[in-house]
Amino acid sequence: MHWVAGGFVFRRVESPFHKLDPRTKLLISLEFFAISLLAFAIIQVAIVLASVLFVAVYAKSLKRIGRTILMSAGFAGFIFAINLLFGVGLVSSLLYALRFLAIVSSTSIFFVTTSPDELEHTMKWLGVPRDIVFAFVTAVRFIPVIMLDAFQIMDAQKSRGLELEKGNFVKRIRNMVPILVPLVVNSVVRSGELAEAMESRAYGATPKPTSLYKLRLSRKDKSVMLVSLLFFAAVLYIYLRVKVPV
């Protein structure tokens, strides 16, 4: 079951796209996001989806982004069904479902190709207060640790006779209590130790801490940003001016 924890762990991939400044990736992601939100024809959404997949291939992350799309496909199906049920036309329902997929995949471009480290720098750059950035950093940092903790507790409780997979829905949820209680207690203890270690290493000693790394836009970043902005403008122009059958 350790693969579950693996899904939350960032994997470093060597690709030209990964090497871009996180702000460039954020811009591209946001542009895709806006384009998918504004798309009003199936063909447009299909083009957005195809472009996202193209970027994914370029970033050597097709598998991960593909998995995200597959995982959200169920929800897209739900959107389609609900719309259809409430009398929205077949084509429009399909459009909404596809649009949802396009939005999910365009945001995942940023999150799949950006390391938590870069994400932290981006948050700082956006002016998010340091305590919030640090809370986010530790939360992401400890996801795999707490997951493994949970598996260990599950094994321990199972070996003492707890049957997790037995009973009806309500029973199964109640079965999780003996897992959750020690997990929460463990995490509280852990957070206490974390606080001690942070204090001991001068966290909060100065109002403006410095940083080992600083985000720097390379020439490549600037050109990629420029090209993407031009494309974005062109797409907006097409949206406004060119009539496409829905």
């Binding site: 390391s115 932290e120 001068a202 966290y203 000693a205 801490p209 080992l212 790394y213």
Partner: protein, 281 residues
């Protein structure tokens, strides 16, 4: 050598606790010493460590009497940011002391908090990694490290603050014997090369007694024994405080009861063999 730590009549009671966790502790630590702090669980070792690095009274309030002076500054008066550059504390579980996503960034955590210029942080990080032999791990994420490596990285984070005193709270408790003995050699190395003073809470005495200059035993919040490891370990009372005496030293005491008196108290089997060989001659 000058005095680095001066503890005078220190008593401490946690907030809303009736019992004093520490009572009238007197302790003097000289620069360059390696001190083993031992005693049964709940004897106040961890509280004493926290008094030395300032977590008490800055993070944990309570009744605080007496004084702790580190390198000429009063722990009670100075903020944690200043104290962190004098005293480093390595906790038992390295996992909870690594905050960042890469080893390098984590070592930079302390210097970043001190708002040091970027070049200074860089040089401290590089130097610390070289000293601890963890340069190849620079870009690794915490979950990609073994327990021994995590311990080293956590120690690196402490060393990067350039403290004069490093306190280790049961540093080998989660390590296998080989990694534990590597850590002990590292302590010795940092002590001789950088002159860092160490206070180590440790149960695996066989590893540390060889390099320790002193051993302090605590019981029920008081300091009960203080002296050279050989003196403390050959004291009859030591067993009563739940301290496992290394077998070579135990054999020495047994032999003494039988009337065989050795010249020195051995701490390791090799020393004992050496002395027995001398008697045979």
């Amino acid at each position: 050598m000058g005095s680095l730590v001066h503890i005078e009549k220190l008593s401490f009671r946690y907030l809303e606790s009736k019992q004093w966790t520490l009572s009238e502790i007197e302790l003097e630590v000289k620069e360059g010493e390696i001190i083993i702090l031992a005693g049964p669980s709940g004897c106040g070792k961890s509280t004493l460590l926290r008094c030395m690095n300032g977590l008490i009274p800055h993070m944990y309030p309570g009744d605080y009497q007496g004084s702790v002076t580190i390198d000429g500054i009063q722990v009670r008066e100075e903020p944690m940011g200043i104290l962190a550059q004098k005293v480093g504390l390595l906790f038992q579980n390295p996992e909870n002391q690594i905050f960042m996503f890469s080893v390098e960034r984590d070592i930079a955590f302390g210097p970043e908090n001190l708002a040091l210029p970027r070049q200074e942080i860089r040089s401290r990080v590089d130097e610390t990694m070289r000293l601890l032999g963890i340069e190849p791990l620079a870009q690794r994420a915490p979950h990609e490290l073994s327990d021994g490596q995590k311990q080293r990285v956590a120690l690196a984070g402490v060393i990067a603050m350039r403290p004069k005193l490093v306190i280790l709270d049961e540093p080998t408790s989660l390590l296998d014997p080989k990694t534990a003995s590597e850590l002990v050699s590292l302590i010795q190395d940092l002590n001789t090369r950088l002159g860092i003073t160490f206070v180590v809470v440790e149960h695996r005495l066989d590893l540390l007694t060889k390099l320790a200059t002193r051993m302090v035993v605590m019981n029920e919040g008081r300091k009960v024994l203080d002296g050279k490891p050989s003196e403390v370990l050959s004291n009859e009372r030591v067993g009563a405080y739940g301290i496992v005496v290394p077998s070579a030293t135990r054999l020495y005491s047994e032999l003494a009861k039988e009337g065989v008196k050795l010249a020195r108290v051995p701490l390791a089997p090799s020393e004992l063999t050496e002395q027995l060989r001398r008697i045979r001659r």
